[in-house]
């Protein structure tokens, strides 16, 4: 079982690296490859089971796009072949068609059919509560926090990864959050997404045909249950000011 973390220097802005770290802690005998932006990605030369990326500043996002563009076709092939991807924060935008920013168009990997629009003078923050429905019809509550300068649009955003119950969606007109295509999971929820959502992690492990028991399962479930209870409380304020 191989986990590849792409560009940990660039994409660990909000503690996102802990997603891969905890995932590895829960999978005995797993191997984690940290691919620095000076290195060639491991997925080019060997089988990687899951690829993780995390939040980054907008400037660093453009560096990451530049690094990955030469491997665009291979990445599309991996996405289409059902390799698992977990991209948190704005990292999932890299897999779309392009990013628009104040008249500038930044070409992206084009692996999934959507695009993003940035507005650096308009940052939005919210707490998030939503529903992820598995293929078997099981509902998993998803919790988290979003803080972003950009939103995404286009075909792939119409099929939800998560249905929004509280907070805003993948764009301000949408009740969907994130992108779910085959085994690609991308969400604007930031940072330690997996640490916040142990039920989703269990689903992910089962989907990868792995044992779904978690390290410190009682602790992580208690923290999740408490946060869920607070977010489900009547009158919860999901939207937060930025300045």
């Amino acid at each position: 079982m191989k986990i590849e973390v792409l560009y940990p220097e660039l994409s660990n802005l909000y503690g996102d690296y802990y997603n891969a770290k905890y995932l590895a802690m829960c999978i005995p005998d797993s191997q984690t490859v940290f691919t620095s932006n000076n290195d060639k990605p491991a997925f080019l030369s060997e089988k990687v089971d899951i690829i993780c990326m995390g939040s980054m500043s907008e400037r660093n996002q453009e560096f990451a796009i530049k690094h990955l563009m030469p491997y665009k076709d291979k990445i599309k092939e991996l996405v289409d072949n059902g390799t698992f991807f977990l991209a948190t924060g704005n990292s999932f935008e890299i897999f779309g068609d392009h990013i628009e920013d104040d008249g500038k168009k930044i070409e992206c990997l084009g692996a999934i059919d959507f695009y993003s629009k940035r507005q650096m003078n308009d940052r939005r923050n919210c707490f998030f509560l939503g529903d992820f429905q598995t293929e078997k019809g099981e509902d998993i509550k998803i919790v988290g926090h979003k803080s972003q300068f950009s939103f995404s649009h286009g075909k792939a955003t119409e099929k939800p990864f998560i249905s929004v119950e509280g907070g805003f969606g993948i764009n301000l007109d949408s009740k969907n959050e994130g992108v779910h295509y085959k085994n690609f999971f991308g969400t604007y929820i930031l940072g330690p997404f997996i640490m916040l959502n142990p039920q989703f992690l269990k689903y992910l492990l089962r989907s990868m045909n792995l044992n779904d028991s978690l390290l410190y399962e009682e602790e992580i479930n208690n923290a999740y249950a408490d946060r869920l209870k607070r977010l489900q409380r009547e009158g919860t304020e999901f939207l937060m000011g930025a300045e």
Binding site: Y14, S36, D226
Partner: protein, 453 residues
């Protein structure tokens, strides 16, 4: 104009009443001034010397110390000691520095400036000097990331063509501010410190080309001397360089073009040594002699809401500002505590919300902050309280801290019950800027418990 005059008179009256009813530390006169005249900050006359202090960490400490030194020089100084760094606090500060005829009545104003809003407020305040402490990881909700803060401060200082920037050459972020401004840099030479590896993403890649930078040396986190192996971007050179730091004797040597001079230190922490370097650089740039500055530093103290210590016989009890949500501040304090050799217990009061407060808060910072540092043999117990106690419980376990060394509870009132004193030399109550009073109450209860034993 009429609007400004009405605003000035009304807010001066309000300030007078507040001062005479024991509410001096209150921003409401400033709020009134801005409500009556939104461009009050721009219109109010400024004293001959205005020092603005901005950046992520250290603003309040440096502002306090600068204002203390100016007071020791016999200057009349307008300054908000309580760290009010939004527009209202700044209006309150500058309001206090003029007469009802809008004529300066003080020699100087020291204005703390919130870094996120600096692009708006710095041009209004028109400081002669701007100290930028550093730019590093902070609260995600307010400050997003360093690139945003850099662009905000840069926008602000670009409108101050006559101001001199006092910058930290060892901060790879803020040292590149103000391309067209006059600048004076401070730095600390390699102290061969044993610096921990960090998770905090303060300066992950070269801002010019995106390559992972190489550090010649670090003092803490990403504060140090770097170069980019690809494009050659490198740290600025200090005009004032702390060459030899002696924390036992609480003194350091500072090299500059006129020679090398000895200055006192106000604490045994490297981050406060940087604060002192900023102060030395400011006052040397203004024109004070090293001897005068050194003499004044001997008489200044860190603000009590940042660090305070009480001797309880065998145990020393500290309250220490560590700032929840502020990843860089919390990690730096954790590193200091791991290295400070006394056998200690830590109490963490870093949440934003306590008790039945219906608000919730983000926990991303828990996974950015180096809780792993606390897995240290000198740290005998960690007691955490607050709404997010279950998140801490998980985080402390993931950091490898033995479960028997941790206590995580909802109600902070119960903390004293878990404090033990056997073999303990120090107790640290770490608090956020919003939990100073909460920390003081807990400290008093623990003190009572220890005194009664």
């Amino acid at each position: 104009m009429l609007r400004f005059i009405i605003s000035l008179w009304a807010s001066k009256l309000c300030l007078f009443l507040f001062k005479h009813t024991g509410r001096e530390r209150d921003d409401r006169p400033g709020i009134l001034a801005l409500r009556l005249c939104p461009n009050f900050l721009d219109r109010v006359k400024k004293p001959p010397l205005v020092v603005a202090v901005t950046g992520t960490n250290g603003k309040t400490t440096i502002s306090n110390l600068v204002s203390n030194i100016l007071n020791l020089e016999g200057k009349k100084v307008a300054y908000n000691t309580w760290g009010a760094n939004y527009k209202a606090g700044q209006a309150r500060c500058l309001l206090d520095a003029v007469s009802i005829f809008n004529r300066p009545t003080k020699d100087a104003a020291v204005v703390e400036v919130d870094e996120l809003l600096s692009y708006k407020t710095l041009p209004w305040i028109q400081p002669n000097y701007v100290i930028v402490t550093n730019i590093c990881r902070d609260s995600i909700r307010r400050n997003a990331h360093q690139d945003l803060i850099f662009s905000r401060i840069n926008q602000g200082v670009s409108k101050l063509p006559n101001a001199t920037l006092i910058l930290n050459a060892d901060d790879p972020n803020s040292s590149f501010l103000g391309e067209n401004n006059n600048k004076r840099f401070f730095a600390i030479a390699d102290q061969h410190a044993d610096v921990f590896e960090t998770n905090v993403s303060d300066f992950p890649v070269c801002p010019k080309c995106g390559t992972v930078p190489v550090f010649n040396y670090r003092h803490y986190r990403a504060i140090g001397n770097f170069y980019c192996p690809n494009c050659g971007l490198k740290s600025k050179t200090g005009d004032f360089i702390g060459t030899k730091l002696d924390f036992d004797k609480r003194e350091m040597l500072v090299k500059e073009k006129d020679g090398e001079f000895k200055y006192p230190l106000v604490s045994d922490t490297i981050f406060n040594a940087f604060n002192i370097m900023a102060i030395i650089t400011l006052f040397r740039t203004i024109g004070y002699s090293p001897e005068v500055i050194a003499e004044h530093i001997k008489h200044i103290k860190l603000p009590e809401n940042r660090v305070a210590c009480e001797d309880l016989g065998k145990i020393k009890m500290y309250t220490f500002s560590a700032k929840g949500q502020n990843v860089s501040a919390a990690s730096t304090v954790f590193e200091y505590l791991a290295k400070e050799p006394s056998k200690k217990e830590l109490i963490l009061l870093l949440d934003e919300h306590y008790g039945d407060d219906p608000n919730i808060e983000t926990i991303t910072w828990l996974y950015e902050t180096d809780f792993e540092y606390l897995n240290n043999e000198n740290i005998k117990k960690i007691i955490v309280a607050g709404q997010r106690y279950l998140d801490y419980k998980l985080r402390l376990r993931l950091a490898g801290i033995p479960v028997e060394k941790t206590v995580c509870v909802f109600d902070e009132q119960t903390i004293p019950d878990y404090v033990s004193t056997d073999g303990i030399e120090s107790i640290y109550v770490l608090h956020d800027v919003t939990t100073v009073l909460r920390a003081k109450k807990i400290k008093d209860k623990i003190k009572e418990k220890i005194t009664n034993q």
